[in-house]
Amino acid sequence: MTAVPPATAELQPADTRGGPWLRLRGDWRLRTGLPAVSDVLKDLPDPAAGKVLRFADDGLDGWDTGLTAFLLGCTDVLEAGGWQADFSELPAGVQRLMELARAVPENAEAHRTGIEPNWLARLGLAALNLVAIGGAMLEFLGELALSFVRLITGRARMRARDLWFQMQQCGADALPIVLLINVLVGMILAFVGVVQLQQFGAAIFVANLVALAMLREMGVLMTGIIISGRTGASFAAQLGAMQANEEVDAFRSFGIPPMDFLVLPRVLALVFMMPLLTIFADAIGILGGMLVGAAMMDLSMRAYWNQTLMSATMGHFMLGVGKSFVFGGLIALCGCYQGIRCGRNAQAVGQATTRAVVAAITSLIVADAVFAVLCNELGI
């Protein structure tokens, strides 16, 4: 293969045939590399002879988009400086492509201003953004409240079919993973408990520890975290994809409020299903604790079970179940809010999903802390 001469462009002052000139030589193809526009046009000749730069074919070996892209770049620079570009001596094909490229003038307003704001401006923008997000959340909650009112008065456009389907999705279908995680948590609690309590000869109290921990905290919290990652994320992704595809707008165009049709069944389903899942979680957690505890302490199952019954009161159980209603609502709200407000592209759907999970887990922990303080004050 013979070496092709690289693309070169040389500025020349005006001569008898006119000018000034930009002489193009060599192979102007993308794959061979191109000179930078700014280098080539660094020192434009004295404009005394007129502000027209003529481009000349001074031995082009070949060209493709590389050349036309370079020429378009030159035109932009030249026009900014009040110059004109004259391509009339270039090959006819190049001229036609350049004509097409310049046929529709640039949309001046379409440019996104790329000015980087300084830190003060950024702080201000962030604060305004926060206010906007707060407003949007309030709006979402308000619309959901209206939707509930419609539901109670029997005017909500929600199909029972959708509610059942969602209940199955976030209830029955989630049960295996909820059981698995919670039996493990019960076992771990018992294991750690036995090791510590045996030192004081109080190993039997591990039954109290497991029962209280599962009923009050761990059962509902672990379930909440699993459901955030599983169901909260899926709510956000489903609604986000529907938003991206204009499906949500299509509901609106039929006068069917997306709140009634899409959000309400999901929120209701999760609020109803979380307590059920939590009860299963509590039971399997205590069972797991019993297996490990009884085995490690050489105790009969019956003795462990009696100790559990003595410590686990209805109050503890109800506290966990009460929390689960709140947690279910929070997870569904985070998921649906992010989904409904999702932008119209694939990246936005991914973001909505991530945000939904992070927001759900954070709000669970915060709500749990609030419950802890309240219980302490009320002596539950």
Partner: protein, 257 residues
Amino acid sequence: MSDQPSRIDLRGVELAYGSYVVMRDINASIRRGEVFVIMGGSGCGKSTLLRAMIGLMPPAQGEIRYDGELLFSADRTPDDLARRFGVLFQGGALWSSMTLAENIALPLEQYTRLKPAEIRQVVRHKLALVGLKGFEDYRPAEISGGMKKRAGLARAMALDPEILFFDEPSAGLDPLSSRRLDELILQLRDVLGTTVVVVTHELESIFAIADTALFLNAQTRTPTALGNPHELLKHSTEPAVRAFLTRGESSHETPAP
């Protein structure tokens, strides 16, 4: 003609995304049983205008009235008027978790007291109208782009709405299907008295169906022509409109986009 009451009134409508104004000063009134075409180059704001007209996006300024009633007002959401609309979105916007039959059946279930068997009957008929008989149990992901468009059309017509909005119904269709679609639009107008608002840039279609056409000029960001397309072609002096209606073949200073 002009003594007929107008069904839709646009008064000084301005459309904007944030501070980016897409179109301003849109004025038009659309009569009952009229085929009204919104035309203009790509990206000039046709879909945006349609979104405003169906209440998905409040206009930055001006008002939109249906039979004299404001679309956006404090005491009523656009939803109440929306049930009189049928909309075909540019991308079809079929509900992807449902089959075609379910897509068309949903509005019927919501707004009529038809029994399931009757709904099936209607669905079959609507699909047949757009040449999709037998595709009831397909999901949107399993059909082609043009078929999605047609299924969206069938869904828009499900409730025999008073006003139909079509965003580029014939984009992606072959010439024959596109002819049949024009035919269908004219039938809807003549038989059912439906008002049809169509966004399109298919010249052939425009001349075949439009009673009135509104031309949105992307350069000036205002509508620059309103009238029957045949009249506009004969009498308009506006170069952008002439270029559009003749594919830029009559005037060489404005190349076709």
